[in-house]
């Protein structure tokens, strides 16, 4: 497992066929869903199914996240009680507020399970910095465009102008706190051109990755977030120049006439790291 999160795939929590194949779709993270994709009277069923899956079926090379039911539902406590005994990496908290993340953090205090929050209310967007800042256990967020638009009283469009403020605001807050930030799913699963465009936009304004509700979208999302060949080559040259400068005992150095400072080196290292982990480069090639 890596800390690369180009794509996060939702898997319905009461569907054995999808659950047992959750790790074959190339998603960096899977989010097993106990919330929206599970009918009210099947919540107990899904909870048990997911627990048994996690106990006995190996899920390989993918970050495992469970989306529990929201704080204000009768299923919330029971979900946590059961899920916290499993070996998952993270819980996704829907409709996150300062109150609910505090509560979840407290309930997870004896576990290694991390938290990510789903920001999908107008209050959530407004408070996002404080929500993220509540606990170190919280590693990042996902923006939930569908529910947010209901709360905002606006239509959810393909071009997504209505989400512009929320998107930029959550990216800024996450970056300020050095947390990851994942964009809302693109819901027309037959429109790959639209998906590509939407994903490029997310990447261009700073998102780390994008959520998806359909496995068919994963390859497209991954390829958009992959570093390009030019980015990889540039990163290689930055690292080379840095190594030479270190050998020569130089504190500052330049590449192509431009001063190379710490953020540029860090960015280059991240590009190389990503390329290695997703197999665009092989070990030794750097």
């Amino acid at each position: 497992m890596t800390n690369i999160r180009r794509s996060m795939l939702f898997i319905p929590g009461n569907n054995p066929g999808m659950l047992q194949s959750a790790d074959v779709f190339n998603a960096d993270s899977i989010i097993i869903d106990l919330e929206d994709s599970v009918a009210i009277d099947e919540k107990d069923s899904a909870r048990t199914l997911v627990t048994e899956l996690l106990k006995s079926v190996p899920i390989n090379n993918v970050e495992t996240i469970v989306r529990i039911n929201p704080f204000d539902t009768p299923f919330y406590e029971k979900d946590i009680e059961v899920i916290k005994k499993t070996n998952i990496d993270m819980i996704l908290l829907p409709k996150a507020t300062i109150e609910s993340i505090k509560d979840l953090d407290e309930r997870l205090k004896d576990t290694k399970i991390q938290i990510m929050v789903l920001i999908e209310t107008s209050l959530g967007v407004h408070q996002v910095f404080d929500i993220l800042n509540t606990t170190n256990r919280c590693l990042g967020l996902m923006l939930g465009g569908e529910d947010l638009c209901v709360d905002l009283n606006c239509a959810r469009t393909k071009s997504g102008e209505e989400l512009l403020y929320a998107r930029m605001h959550v990216v800024n807050s996450s970056r300020a706190l050095r947390k990851f930030v994942i964009d809302t799913p693109f819901t027309d699963t037959n429109d790959f051109e639209g998906l590509t465009k939407d994903t490029y936009f997310a990447k261009s304004i700073g998102f780390d990755g994008k959520a998806s509700i359909n496995p068919r979208q994963i390859d497209t999302i991954n390829s958009v977030f992959n570093p390009t060949e030019a980015e990889i080559n540039h990163a290689k040259r930055v690292i080379e120049a840095k190594d030479l400068a270190l050998e020569a005992g130089k504190g500052v150095f330049s590449l192509d006439g431009k001063m190379v400072d710490l953020p540029i080196i860090k960015r280059a290292e991240k590009v190389i790291d990503t390329a290695l982990k997703i197999g665009l480069m092989k070990i030794g090639e750097e």
Partner: protein
């Protein structure tokens, strides 16, 4: 060992490079009569001396919508004929009436490349008096052209027929496109009867010439158009199937054979169709153009012809309306016979295939494939062109889910060997790709890719761990079918199985 009702001098499969070189007989039929039309099948049968032990041939282009076989057999069985052999290119669920005739002892032997539905169940249960012979599409043409078997009466379902007996499948209310499997039958049968629901004055463009036809009968309908075009020709929506198709396309891309002029065949299964969609995109992205696509043809392949991605389509059978329309209008969409397609005695087109995408019910650690029985040993399918194309293609790619509904695809040994492992090069599953170690060239090629290459043993271990090892199946000693390789050698036999309908 003698097998009841099977040729005494049969040989066991001994590798794909057969030493058997049968002689070829030539068709000398030339019936120029102007008086071929008869009022009904009954009238034709009244003229012919029917006898016990006859062989009747049928072809399956009307698929599960075929009326011909049932119509003919209804007349035949009224006439106190016994010990009839049905030599059909394929048998579908619509032919369930045959079971009755098998039970009555009228039909005692069946030859087919593919059998599904009630007839296959009856054979598995041991109801057929003699052994069933399951050949390949190419093997069927060989059996006839070598004189190994003589067809007494061939019945040709003719979507359009003219007064002299020229036949085309391209037009008519029951149009089915190519009628490639019927060509050999018409050429070599002692007597050939065309049954049509569209009799016209004169045809210029036909696939079977009138000189091979002895009788013409006009009927209301030769088939049900809904069944003629089977419902299988849709791209899978299953994300696991799509993942497999994507990986199979990557195998094509990095195999070393993906270059201008390559040739391709894929089946009509959902995953195979998805491969053609991904391949289409790959060909456009890489600016590669193929020479021809072969086989049963679907609309997805037709689209590739229209877009100039292939120069020609060679078509032995159309799977959907799009391909029927195309073969009727596009001169580069060419109807071929089963012999030209895959007959080992012919200069056949499979020999120049670069890629074929095939399915599997089971595959074993030696890459042998079963598409003849279910994973519990009941007959349900058959080679069709499976082992023919696997033999011909430079890269034979089998696509399958590693397991589905607790049915694993990889076994230690397949229950029935349809296609020998030495002709199967790559297995693509959702959890990884296994390359046949015999193909050292491909093993080498894929070393430097990022594709999830594993050994077939590794894939089996993943599968066993998730689904558990299935219990061995019990069979009766009685042999109910022989599986013939394309050269006529016996590659496997199928034993009687009491069909367990629990669940």
């Amino acid at each position: 060992m003698d097998i009841l009702g099977y040729k005494k001098d049969y040989q066991l499969f001994a590798g794909t490079r057969s030493k058997i070189k049968p002689s070829i007989i030539k068709s000398s039929k030339n019936n120029q009569s102007n008086n071929k039309k008869r009022l009904s099948i009954k009238h034709v049968l009244d003229e012919i001396a029917l006898k016990d032990g006859m062989t009747l041939s049928f072809h399956h282009h009307l698929r599960n919508g075929d009326y011909i076989l049932n119509m003919v057999m209804e007349e035949i069985t009224r006439r106190n004929v016994k010990d009839v052999t049905i030599f059909a290119s394929s048998i579908f669920p619509c032919h369930k009436d045959l079971v009755k005739y098998i039970e009555q002892g009228i039909v005692t032997q069946i030859y087919a490349a593919f059998i599904s539905g009630p007839v296959s169940e009856a054979i598995s249960e041991g109801k057929l008096k003699k052994v069933a012979v399951m050949h390949t599409h190419g093997g069927r043409a060989r059996i006839v052209e070598s004189g190994e078997l003589t067809i007494d009466l061939a019945f040709i379902g003719a979507p359009t027929c003219d007064q002299t007996g020229n036949i085309t499948g391209k037009i008519g209310k029951s149009a089915c496109g190519s009628i490639g499997y019927a060509v050999t039958d018409a050429h070599f049968a002692k007597t050939t009867i065309a049954i049509t629901d569209n009799l016209v004055d004169e045809l210029d463009d036909f696939q079977i010439g009138g000189q091979y036809i002895d009788y013409i009968v006009e009927v209301d309908a030769i088939g049900d158009s809904k069944g003629i075009v089977s419902g299988t020709t849709e791209i899978t929506k299953n994300p696991i199937g799509l993942k497999i198709a994507k990986l199979a396309t990557d195998v094509i891309k990095y195999s070393g054979y993906f270059k201008n002029g390559f040739s391709f065949q894929t089946g009509a299964g959902g995953t195979s169709l998805a491969v053609s969609e991904y391949l289409k995109k790959l060909m456009k992205d890489e600016n590669i153009k193929g020479s021809y696509a072969l086989g049963g043809i679907t609309s997805y392949i037709v689209d590739m012809l229209k877009e100039g991605l292939f120069e020609k389509l060679y078509d032995v059978q159309c799977f959907d309306l799009g391909s029927v329309e195309s073969i009727a209008t596009n001169p580069n969409h060419i109807a071929i016979s089963a012999s030209k397609y895959a007959n080992i005695l012919d200069d056949c087109l499979i020999n120049n295939l670069d890629f074929v995408i095939l399915g599997a019910t089971e595959i074993d650690l030696d890459f042998n494939v079963n598409v003849t029985t279910t994973s519990t040993g009941e007959i349900m399918g058959g080679s069709g062109g499976h082992s023919d194309t696997a033999y011909g293609a430079k890269v034979t790619i089998v696509v399958s889910q590693l397991f589905n509904a607790r049915i694993p695809v990889i076994k230690n040994k397949v229950i029935c060997k349809t296609t020998p492992g030495e002709t199967v090069d790559v297995l693509v599953t959702e959890r990884g790709i296994a390359i046949n170690p015999l193909r050292t060239d491909l093993v080498e090629k894929f070393k430097n890719t990022n594709l999830p290459i594993k050994t077939i043993e590794e894939l089996k271990a993943i599968s066993d761990n998730l689904v558990g090892i299935p219990k061995e199946i019990d069979f009766d000693d009685k042999i109910v079918a022989v599986v013939e390789y394309r050269d006529g050698t016996v590659i496997d036999v199928i034993h009687k199985k009491n069909i367990n309908n629990k669940g």
